[in-house]
């Protein structure tokens, strides 16, 4: 049998371990909603986790759930919503079919990561299979745990390079009763950027803060419905510009949509940024005709790149930035600067000594 031609579809963690126990080199994939991450490099066989699907445990009173890696986000979100709960980091791609395992392995969080943290901050425990075919558990099922090495966090963003995630436990939060958004337009990018450090130290409990060039901002508040108008008034006064109020389904739809929605370009990439590089980076991207949205208080840029991945790679390297391609043709998903780090190398060699997963 030519293993590389077939799509493998194990149905239990034991079957995943058995695969690794045999020969071959593998890349785990979920629903394929981030195609640049689910295309196996030459010589690697895709292992679909779709057969490992379903909620294993969910006790709303504990604010935790455990689910198999192939479980669609939409299924999880529906179960949480029935109990007034949610994953506050706004996982992306639920409508397209994205899975829990893919969310962890890609390390992608939505705009909600601003207030309480991203995937890494809500994952509590994980089961995964190492390159040596060992079925391993790390972390726990309770909201607080300090025993053993933190494999759950390590696997966030691991892109299938360190192990195949088969199951995970997450913390969840109660969903606020209501949310509302102010949308405003500053005269230019510099004016919008100037607001960010002021907002950073202001006492607003912002659930979301998004910026789209040239100067559009979205600011989200949530809580008891009766208190929102007063809080929005205060926020608007602080902003010093007239703002439009979004409520109801239109508001929810904005925050649910992938931040790169509507941006044209063959390549979609995530680029972590800081305020310090924002102006220069935006100018460079704009000059090349790239679409961009700055998300989570301008901690991450979603870039829609019209050119080749190698050009974006150079642009990032020149600025000391790194990025991750989700969609579009690219020689490798990670772009920009790479640290040849002994810590990283040593952990890779412990979990995947024979290179059964792609290189970091």
């Amino acid at each position: 049998m030519n293993a590389s031609a077939a799509l493998l579809r194990p149905r239990t963690p034991e079957e995943v371990a058995a695969l690794l126990g045999g020969g071959g080199r593998f890349l785990a994939i979920g629903a394929g909603t981030k195609p640049a991450l689910s295309a196996p490099p030459a010589g690697f066989t895709a292992v679909s986790l779709a057969g490992l699907s379903g909620i294993v445990e969910y006790d709303p009173g504990e604010y935790t759930f455990t689910a198999l890696a192939g479980t669609p986000l939409a299924e999880l979100q529906a179960a949480l919503a029935r109990n007034g709960q949610y994953l506050p980091f706004d996982p992306l791609g639920a409508a397209a079919g994205a899975t829990l395992g893919g969310t962890i392995a890609s390390g992608i969080s939505g705009p909600g990561r601003l207030r309480y943290g991203g995937v890494r901050d809500f994952i509590l425990g994980v089961r995964f299979v190492t390159g040596r075919g060992e079925n391993v558990r790390g972390g726990g099922k309770v909201v607080k745990n300090a025993a053993g090495f933190d494999f759950p966090k390590l696997l966030v963003g691991s892109l299938g390079r360190l192990g195949i995630i088969t199951e995970a436990t997450f913390k969840v939060f109660p969903r606020p009763a209501a949310a509302a958004t102010l949308r405003c337009d500053l005269p230019n990018f510099a004016a919008a950027c100037a607001l960010l450090p002021r907002l950073a130290a202001a006492p607003f409990d912002l659930e979301g803060l998004e910026l789209a060039p040239p100067g559009r901002l979205w600011l989200r508040l949530s809580g008891a419905p009766a208190t929102l108008p007063e809080r929005l008034d205060r926020l608007e006064k602080f902003l010093g510009v007239e703002a439009e109020r979004l409520v109801g389904e239109a508001e929810a739809a904005f925050w649910r949509a992938e931040p790169w929605t509507g941006l044209a370009g063959a390549i979609v990439a995530k680029v972590p940024v800081t305020l310090a590089v924002l102006a220069d980076f935006d100018e460079a991207l704009g000059g090349r005709g790239a679409g961009r949205r700055y998300s989570a208080g301008a901690n991450v840029a979603w870039v829609s790149w019209p050119g080749a991945a190698t050009e974006l790679d150079q642009l990032l390297q020149a600025r000391g930035l790194s990025g991750l391609v989700l969609q579009g043709p690219t020689p490798r998903p990670l772009l920009g600067i790479r640290r040849e780090d002994p810590f990283q190398r040593r952990i890779k060699s412990a979990l995947d000594p024979a290179g059964r997963f792609p290189d970091l």
């Binding site: 558990r137 909201v143 008891a224 810590f343």
Partner: protein, 476 residues
């Protein structure tokens, strides 16, 4: 080795006589003892690297040390090893309010970071109760917790970037300055390594805006289990309190005697709940919270009228353990975790074990995240008392595991709970963890003997740390 160290460190920063190293023989709280060969105080990264390289060259184990407040014996020296004391690497290198971050050295004190950030309206959220003395380096190594973990997470959730000296002296850099990153979460993997992955010499922490307003409620109950059930009711009603803490009768008694917090002395348990946030949103939430507590069977409710009263409520809580320590010459504290819904069950089991064995146990705990802190009282001068107390402590940890929890919520495994790690993880899990350790530190030089069971007994003599007796720090 000493000669080589003396070439790097002047005499005032190299301690090697028994009298000089004595204060470093234990990390105090759990009082395991071991005599190091020497204690050095580096002033620069280069000196840390030089000391680590020397240890590597001579195959001598080392432990990095901050203030020595570990509650699991995590910073106890290795017999004949080197203590690399980071107390003089205590500067805040950079504070960036716009990006809401600070870059600090490992010897920086936890509260010093918040103090420096305060003028920008920011603070560093993780608040282990030893925060007035414990260092960020220690917090990172042990992924320290505190009273606000349900809402804000542990230390790991607040670390953005790290510069490391690996156990062979190589340098590494993880993470960065953005809240987001790409690639595996190396920072997350490093935090909580218990000193086995070398030394963090530069730490980038995330700062948060100070909540505009706090509302604090104290509720008294006739039954400890009713207080536990109230916590479940608060959660079920969809609240996300900054903190939820419970103290039992013995703990209340001691806290009252020590700091006169004004707690109802006759209560079987008190529950302390705090909401925080924007003023406008908070009032409505707090009204609703009071309604939930009223229905939970509390026989008395008090709302902190002002900041003074709020701080008094918290003072009793924060000093509770050192106060309980006055009731007994010796005590052990554990920090096992149970699912929140099983708190009531866990507490009645602990109460039953305590009664059956005739060993007093006081309870003060982070109810919001199911993190117990049973304080097991004994007299070390009575033959067999320590062993009986340790047996009870072990059984409480097993109870936590049976209920689906963890052997440690925030203190770490250290020396103290090594024997219990195999009860939480199976042999394969442990093999893989050991292999990671071996790849990072094949000679096992960095904090040798911690976290993983070795079979070797650790000499122990439990008792209060001098700082704890003085009420400066407490076993949270």
């Amino acid at each position: 080795m000493l000669t080589a160290l003396a070439q790097i460190f002047p005499p005032d920063r190299l301690l090697a006589t028994a009298a000089e190293t004595a204060p470093f023989e234990s990390d105090g709280l759990t009082a395991f003892h071991a005599r190091p060969l020497a204690v050095v105080f580096p002033l620069t990264t280069e000196e840390v690297v030089a000391a680590v390289r020397l240890c590597h060259q001579h195959r001598i184990p080392f432990v990095a040390r901050g203030s020595g407040t570990s509650l699991s014996g995590g910073s106890v020296p290795i017999e004949g090893g080197i203590v690399i004391a980071l107390n003089r690497l205590n500067r805040i290198l950079r504070l960036d309010p716009a990006q809401r971050l600070a870059v600090v050295q490992p010897g920086a004190i936890n509260t010093a970071v918040s103090a420096a950030a305060a003028r920008h309206g920011l603070y560093y959220a993780p608040d282990p109760s030893s925060q007035a003395v414990c260092t960020l380096g220690g917090n990172v190594a042990f992924n320290s917790g505190g009273a606000h973990c349900l809402k804000y997470g542990m230390t790991s959730n607040h670390i953005l970037g790290l510069k490391l000296v690996l156990p062979d002296g190589e340098l590494a850099e993880l993470g960065g300055e953005s809240l987001e990153s790409v690639g595996p979460d190396w920072v997350g993997m490093y935090v909580g390594n218990e000193g086995l992955f070398g030394i963090a010499i530069e730490i980038t922490v995330r700062l948060l805006p100070k909540p505009e307003c706090y509302r604090t409620l104290l509720a008294a109950y006739n039954e400890l289990e009713a207080a536990g059930a109230a916590v479940a009711a608060v959660v079920a009603a969809g609240f996300l309190p900054g903190a939820m803490e419970i103290m039992d009768r013995l703990a209340i008694e001691a806290a009252e005697a020590a700091v006169h917090a004004g707690y109802p002395r006759e209560a079987s348990a008190i529950l302390l709940i705090e909401l925080e946030g924007e003023r406008a949103g908070l009032a409505a939430d707090f009204d609703r919270l009071q309604e939930v507590i009223r229905k939970s069977g509390a026989y008395e409710m008090r709302v902190a009228r002002d900041e003074d009263e709020r701080l008094r409520f918290w003072k009793g809580r924060k000093s509770a353990f050192s106060a309980v320590g006055r009731l007994s010459p010796d005590y052990i504290v554990q920090d096992g975790v149970v699912p929140r819904g099983k708190l009531g069950h866990a507490l009645s089991e602990i109460e039953r074990m305590s009664r059956e064995r005739g060993i007093r146990v006081a309870n003060v705990f982070h109810a919001g995240d199911g993190n117990l802190h049973p304080l097991i009282l004994y007299n070390g001068r009575e033959p067999g008392a320590l062993e009986a107390a340790e047996a009870l402590a072990g059984d409480i940890l097993r109870l936590c595991l049976r209920l689906g929890g963890s052997i440690t919520g925030e203190h770490g495994v250290g020396l103290e709970k090594r024997a219990y790690l195999p009860e939480m993880f199976n042999p394969t899990d442990l093999d893989v963890m050991r292999r990671v350790r071996d790849c990072i530190d094949p000679l096992e030089l960095s904090n040798r003997g911690k976290m993983f069971p070795t079979g070797a007994p650790a000499p122990s003599a439990h008792g209060a740390h001098p700082l704890e007796k003085a009420g400066i720090i407490s076993r949270e």
